[in-house]
């Protein structure tokens, strides 16, 4: 009790001391504490934006663009890191000596060298060792586009095909291509089309799950699984999707060399590519270790028991090993996703416009609102990680072993 009172008094004193200093210092500098700067004109450009933004937009809008950019690279990174990590983790357990060693080199190399170095290294590879757009010119060009003349890897970034709708719901509004300005599809116009496609896909997945449940019920009741269940499930997902794509007139917009640069398609900047690949490779190495530990945590007796029941190896993996391994793998996996999201703030090294560079960088420099800007920035990261760890706790509770 005494300790608690002493601690409480000390903490109150510290808070009072800090608070008094802040008030005093703000007075001294002639600043006040308010967030009105978020509504004033930003006046700077952001080279990668997922929503409409120009330098006439507000600082708040700039922060939102930055947040979306952070979330974009985090999302792409989580997907690629999971794929790389699972492959590397499984291959590291492979009986193939050479493959195992190779994966060990990958994992140890990325775990023991700072992420910052990898980001800068990949950025340097992208800008220094790839051909410039003009190398694609002419009949005997030095460089050529890959994957059936559809993807161009240049030192200005990677150009990939884009899907555009010729009979769009919102009318396909393109900005005019002027000198030095790329033509871009105005995002809000195509958003409706993509929303429709997404709704249909999600609906299709639910419908196919329903068909699966119906087939299982029928099988349990009659002993015979309805024929062609798999094809029905596939059709429910793909059918409406294909129809809508045809109705909306989806075509591929393939990048092509026009003037001094490529136009058309989606332009993925070097900063995005470097950050994305480096984050994925780095986090993938950690995920590989998690996957390996998870698989090794399932005791050998489980495999042997499954074999004794007469299960084939791949059904043993799917029905016995993986469900138990997932329980071990998922919590650290999610905390790796969290780390990846936080590490995406290293975007500063390559000039990727994430929330730290817009809200926590240029906005602070222009308005001189360090205290408010850093507070908002910290809050964004804090809320993101609290949400993700909240989701993790829900998952953990749902898979907890129900033992007495």
């Amino acid at each position: 009790m005494t300790i608690q009172v002493v601690a409480f008094a000390l903490i109150l004193a510290a808070i009072w001391f800090l608070g008094r200093n802040i008030v005093h210092n703000l007075e001294e500098l002639g600043k006040d504490f308010n967030f009105a700067f978020l509504n004033s004109r930003a006046g700077y450009d952001i080279n990668q934006r997922l929503i409409e933004y120009s330098n006439d937009s507000t600082h708040g809008r700039a922060a939102l663009v930055g947040i979306l950019n952070t979330l974009l690279v985090a999302f792409l990174g989580c997907i690629l890191a999971t794929i790389l990590g699972v492959i590397a983790g499984v291959l590291r357990l492979s009986k193939n000596w050479l493959v195992g060693r190779l994966m060990t080199v990958y994992v140890e190399g990325f775990r023991n060298i700072p992420l910052l170095l990898w980001i800068i290294l990949i950025f340097a590879v992208m800008t220094e060792s790839t051909p410039g757009p003009r190398d694609f010119r002419g009949d005997d060009a030095e460089a050529s586009m890959i994957l059936g003349e559809s993807v161009a890897v240049t030192n200005r970034g990677i150009y990939v095909p884009n899907v555009v709708f010729t009979r769009s719901l919102g009318g396909n509004e393109m900005t005019e291509a002027a000198d030095g300005v790329e033509a871009a599809v105005i995002p809000s116009a195509v958003a409706m089309d993509w929303l429709l496609v997404l709704v249909l896909l999600v609906g299709g997945v639910f419908a196919s799950k329903a068909i699966g449940r119906w087939a299982t019920r029928t099988q349990e009741a009659t002993g015979v699984r309805p024929p062609a269940t798999f094809w029905m499930q596939l059709g429910v997902i793909l059918g409406p999707f294909v129809v809508v794509m045809l109705v909306l007139g989806a075509t591929l917009d393939i990048p092509e060399l026009r003037g001094f640069n490529f136009s058309g398609g989606i332009h993925m900047r070097n900063s995005l590519i470097a950050l994305w690949f480096a984050l994925s490779l780095y986090t993938g190495a950690f995920i590989a270790e998690i996957v390996r530990a998870g698989i090794m945590a399932v005791s050998k007796g489980q495999t042997e028991a499954a074999f004794a029941l007469g299960l084939r190896p791949n059904r043993t993996m799917n029905l016995v090993i993986l469900p138990q391994a997932m329980r071990v793998i998922i919590p650290p996996l999610i905390s790796q996703y969290l780390n990846l999201t936080k590490n995406s703030s290293l975007a500063i090294a390559v000039g990727y416009m994430d929330v730290r560079s817009t809200l926590g960088g240029i906005t602070i420099n222009q308005t001189g609102r360090e205290l408010e800007g850093m507070l908002l920035l910290g809050l964004f990261y804090l809320v993101t990680s609290l949400i993700i760890s909240g989701v993790m706790n829900i998952y953990n509770n749902s898979v907890k072993l129900k033992e007495r």
Binding site: T2, I3, Q4, V6, A7, F8, I11, L18, N21, I22, H24, N25, L26, E28, L91, S94, K95, N96, W97, L98, V99, L102, E108, G109, R111, N112, I113, P114, L115, L116, L117, I120, L121, A124, E128, K342, N343, S345, L346, I348, A349, R356, G360, I364, E370, L371, M374, L377, G378, Y381, L382, T384, S385, L386
Partner: protein, 433 residues
């Protein structure tokens, strides 16, 4: 008539050699590399990958040029020698290694950081290996002050007078418990040295400094750089964050409501925000929180931030260890009549820390790698120096050689840390948890 065989072999035949495919290298290759069609494909693919990587890197790295004054001279030497492919220009390492290692530390004083590193090696030995002589622990105790004095220089009295504060605290605990009681002695041992440092220490060291001016040339923090900076920040962060992290973990596991909630709040806030945001906070915002007029070294701010950051992570790792201990250990300690600190010190922490060794060491490795982030607030870590070297006209455009050198140095440090933790884990493994 008995059917007698005409000949009976009287001794065993020598065993036949196993088939060529079932022994030696061939067997190993068959089992480990070509045991099935999938494995064969994987082997061929990885062989191709290894060949591709080596074919690109080896001629470049081995053909590297070591004697040149600038990148253009490197290129001239290469063109003159008639090599068709690109070669590395390792000359940049030869010309600038001292900057990558020491930053802008005065070159005639390089012996000081080197001596500090050797001293650090001696001081850390009894902590890492229990076979080292115990007397070395004295070196460990004076090491922080000696290292500070060697690196930053200045008068010798500053570190000595500061160290005296710890001696005062220790003396109060040792001799004051009888009169003040355990709690009173603890509080006094915290308050008295604090008062001493704030009000008395400066005057004493000033007086001693003017009476007996013993000292070495002082070096300002902005001269520090390269791996020296990374190691100073990393080691200081590691040494200070471990005790702080353990205290936070105990606070989070404690039943005392206020202490528990404060620890949880601190840990979650620190862990929820990336280190780089904390570093910017330290460089941009710290002045708002301090009394007007105070201003302290950027490097010190970074060390404090890095310490707080990694202590929150260590607290979570140690909490995992504390939670993994069976309940019976806590109850056993209580039933022996030990008080809280005794039971923690003698029963709980040794076991909990042993379980959490891998996590603690990987937090340390993360901390050491994260020291590279200080480049963004203007300190010259190895990556910052590689930019500085590239800004020089002689080495403009050199990338890979510097990155490989920096990467290798980090790899050596981090990899040896992880191997040490594996060794320690094996050594402390007692058969059951």
């Amino acid at each position: 008539m008995a059917n007698t065989p005409s000949f009976v072999r009287t001794q065993m035949l020598d065993p036949k050699d196993p088939p060529i495919t079932e022994k030696g290298a061939v067997k190993w290759i068959r089992e480990n590399l070509f045991s099935g069609w999938l494995n064969s494909i994987l082997t061929l693919v990885s062989l191709y990958v290894i060949y591709w990587v080596l074919a690109h890197i080896l001629p470049w790295a081995l053909g590297g040029i070591w004697n040149a004054e600038s990148l253009s001279e490197c290129r001239e030497i290469r063109d003159a020698s008639g090599v068709g492919h690109d070669v590395a220009c390792w000359a940049v390492i030869g010309a600038r290694w001292h900057q990558l290692l020491f930053g802008f530390y005065p070159s005639e004083l390089y012996w000081r950081p080197i001596l500090a590193l050797i001293l650090f090696g001696v001081a850390i030995a009894p902590v890492l290996f229990d076979t080292a002589p115990r007397k070395l622990l004295i070196v460990t105790a004076i090491m922080p002050f000696a290292a500070y004095w060697l690196l930053w220089g200045g008068t010798i009295w500053g570190p000595i007078v500061t160290a005296l504060g710890f001696v005062i605290g220790w003396a109060i605990i040792k001799y004051g418990s009888a009169t003040l009681g355990a709690l009173g002695a603890t509080i006094a041992a915290i308050v008295v040295p604090l008062l001493y440092w704030l009000f008395v220490a400066g005057a004493i060291s000033g007086a001693l400094g003017s009476a007996l001016p013993i000292g070495i040339e002082s070096v300002a923090s902005d001269r520090f750089g390269g791996f020296m900076l990374a190691i100073v920040i990393g080691v200081a962060g590691i040494v200070m964050s471990l005790p702080l992290g353990i205290l936070l973990a105990l606070g989070r596991q404690s039943d005392l409501f206020i202490i528990n909630k404060c620890s949880v709040f601190f840990i979650e806030i620190i862990r929820g925000v990336p280190l780089i945001v904390w570093l910017f906070t330290a460089s941009l915002l710290l002045n708002y929180f301090l009394p007007p007029g105070t201003n302290f070294d950027l490097m010190l701010r970074v060390i404090i931030m890095v310490t707080l950051f990694s202590s929150a992570y260590i607290a979570e790792v140690v909490r995992g260890g504390l939670a993994a201990l069976p309940r019976g250990q806590y109850e056993g300690a209580d039933s022996l009549g030990l008080d809280y600190w005794q039971s923690m010190q003698l029963i709980i922490l040794p076991q909990a820390l042993k379980i959490s060794i891998p996590g603690i060491v990987s937090t340390f490795i993360g901390l050491f790698k994260d020291t590279t982030l200080v480049v963004f607030i203007g300190l010259l870590d190895p990556i910052g120096l590689s930019n500085a070297i590239r800004a020089d006209a002689a080495w403009n455009g050199i990338y890979w050689e510097l990155f490989i050198f920096i990467g290798l140095c980090f790899f050596i440090f981090c990899f040896s840390m992880s191997r040490y933790s594996m060794w320690l884990e094996r050594k402390l493994h007692t058969g059951h948890r």
